[in-house]
Symmetry: D2
Subunit: 123 residues, 4 copies
Amino acid sequence: MPLVPILGLAVDRFDAEAVVVRLPWQDVALRPGGSVSGPAMMTLSDIALWGAILARVGREPLCVTTDLTFHFLAKPRHADVLAEARVIRLGRTLAIAEATLRSDGQVEPVAHAVGTYALPGRS
Amino acid sequence: MPLVPILGLAVDRFDAEAVVVRLPWQDVALRPGGSVSGPAMMTLSDIALWGAILARVGREPLCVTTDLTFHFLAKPRHADVLAEARVIRLGRTLAIAEATLRSDGQVEPVAHAVGTYALPGRS
Amino acid sequence: MPLVPILGLAVDRFDAEAVVVRLPWQDVALRPGGSVSGPAMMTLSDIALWGAILARVGREPLCVTTDLTFHFLAKPRHADVLAEARVIRLGRTLAIAEATLRSDGQVEPVAHAVGTYALPGRS
Amino acid sequence: MPLVPILGLAVDRFDAEAVVVRLPWQDVALRPGGSVSGPAMMTLSDIALWGAILARVGREPLCVTTDLTFHFLAKPRHADVLAEARVIRLGRTLAIAEATLRSDGQVEPVAHAVGTYALPGRS
């Protein structure tokens, strides 16, 4: 069963400058205390980063994740989590993007992600 | 719905030297081609790294992920994925572990993960 | 011989919101083509990230780097490199900061860094 | 002035399985306490990872670092630091390697590095 339908991700924004993906609040806790799990936030981030690149290069079915680095910054609130992703480098065969995750309505980030995606179809 | 029961992870080994967690082959593809998805491998890695630390420090409910870095190395086979995790530093308030992921029965790794976990209960 | 005096780093800004450290253009090339080397940019980043945290917590001699992740985005110009660092999480025992590096006068970044620093003196 | 001659790095091993680069003990401390600095260990790591890839692909002048992640595990001893690097994936246009750093004569690692290098000349 694919994870993304389970997580119920929704796209709030999708353009060349930024992509925002929403993880609806739901019972996805892996950790004590009922918080949004790290894996759910990692999945959200990967989708948002990937989306930010597709928003720049168009539909590229072979775009694959090469590396991802996450820093978990604060415990999310009992709310949706929004990942806002931007491309920071678009090369011929590699694209690099970063994302900041926030609980809906909050300024302080709950997580940060940066990752590289290979674009083999363009080489 | 928590991700881990969905993924059906199983623990193949759990001792102070290493922890091995198994992701059973199933329809968890997010990417074209029917391969195991990156998010499923990230979830597997986080559980294995966390387990490797718990195998050293005992039940520590407040152990939380601080950072995680993944490198995706090869497309997984149509098989279970095994994550073998080892602690590379056990400090008073931080533990660092790395994991290598392989398709069952293969030598070549499909992914590598390294991460830091905070142990606030020990400070 | 310490690296920082060799590199001739200069602090352009130092306040609670951001710290900017400058790597003067000089013959520090390790790579073909006369570009600023990766290690010089990593050193610059570490100092800027560390500075951003000290600008928030004050003089903390025991603040030590726990992890650092770099992405190299574009070849630097023949110019000074500026690293602008900001704290993205300030906890009791850990601080996390990110930095964007640009060639002087350019908008496009040449590198991105994110790192965690332990603050053992505050635990 | 290039960093590598300053650091006095020496190659202890260079073959297809592993590359070992040595950072001689010297006064390269940036941090209190006279320890080997993080930037010196990052420079050592980058050279060792890069060397491990060149040992596999041959002289490739365009091999450039794409990302690097470091975890600092323990304070180095008053001794040379050795970085042992191995390729964990060799693709057509990307190579990924990891390195473990130890103080000379010690078993416990002092740092871990993993990084991606682009091989544009092979695309």
